[in-house]
């Protein structure tokens, strides 16, 4: 009579392992550049070709650098959240990679522009220096001009809370940041 219960027990045991197995998959991939200074780059601005977005632009502030393109479908998922963060006062700079200027400008006009400015990188040369392999990717840069964190795949409120906020609070610490409260810092 007990032999009929055996299959159920085997199944239950297997399921137990599966549940554990599912919890054990970290999906974040650190970058070689974490802790290192921002790479040297200089790109024309997307909106105003006479202006530049470069290493100098990012110095001395806590900011996000977001890699995007109109061809990047996944980027849509994070765009609204980025616009929200930008509205709260967080500086976000874009790296528009492998894109068409006209299409990119239309995109921003239609979906909203969260970027202080976007560097236009149609050949994808700057993103190689940033170690970018896919989009969307978002970097957190610190006051001292080093890269504090990199996130691949769309930015979500959960990722923001878990990975970015603690680092931002550290950076903003003593001098405080104007946007900190608005983005959930206090």
């Amino acid at each position: 009579m007990w032999r009929y219960v055996v299959p159920l027990i085997v199944f239950a045991t297997m399921s137990g392992f599966f549940v554990v197995g599912l919890q054990r998959n970290p999906n974040y991939i650190p970058s070689a550049l974490i802790g290192k200074p921002i790479p040297q780059f200089s790109l024309p601005s997307l909106t105003d070709p006479s202006a530049t977005v470069s290493t100098e632009t990012l110095q001395g502030q806590v900011a996000l650098v977001n890699v995007w393109g109109t061809w990047c479908i996944e980027c849509r998922h994070e765009h609204a959240f980025l616009v929200e963060l930008a509205r709260a006062g967080l500086p976000i700079y874009g790296l528009n990679a492998k894109d068409d200027r006209g299409a990119a400008l239309d995109w921003l006009a239609a979906l909203g522009n969260p970027y202080v400015s976007s560097g236009f990188d149609p050949e994808g040369v700057a993103i190689i220096d940033w170690g970018v392999t896919a989009a969307p990717e978002t970097f957190l840069v610190g006051r001292d001009g080093t890269i504090l964190h990199k996130h691949i795949s769309p930015m979500t409120p959960q990722v923001w809370q878990r990975d970015f906020l603690p680092l931002i609070k550290e950076q903003c610490g003593a001098s405080g940041c104007t946007f900190l409260a608005a983005v959930g810092g206090q």
Binding site: P26, N27, A32, T133
Partner: protein, 143 residues
Amino acid sequence: MTPRRQRMMLIGLVLVGVVVSATLALRAFQENLVYFFSPTQVAGGEAPERAFRLGGMVVEKSVQREPGSLTVHFVLTDFANTVPVSYTGLLPDLFREGQGIVAIGQLQGETFVADEVLAKHDENYMPPEVAEAVAKARGAETQ
């Protein structure tokens, strides 16, 4: 021989057969378990003599082909340590610099000689085992 004895003998034979098969199976299993090591572990001398899997990111600008031969050299990293790898043969299509790959082979001296190089076929370009090794290496570094 009585039927009872026949049956006992049959059961006995079956049991012996099962034990022998199980032992052989387990031994074969052990021999064919391929363990995964990260560049940090290899640098730390943890890697075994026999074949194992080495995973990491292909370091940018590290891929070099021996002129006139099918041998290619590149460097794998988990952002804490690196291992030079050499492979003779055709590389998979998805192999490129900056990509996470897994190589299967043996350590010969300082170089990992790969028999097989695997790259993953979907939008996640780093095998989870490599990602975890990298995360561990990062954790060790910050401590």
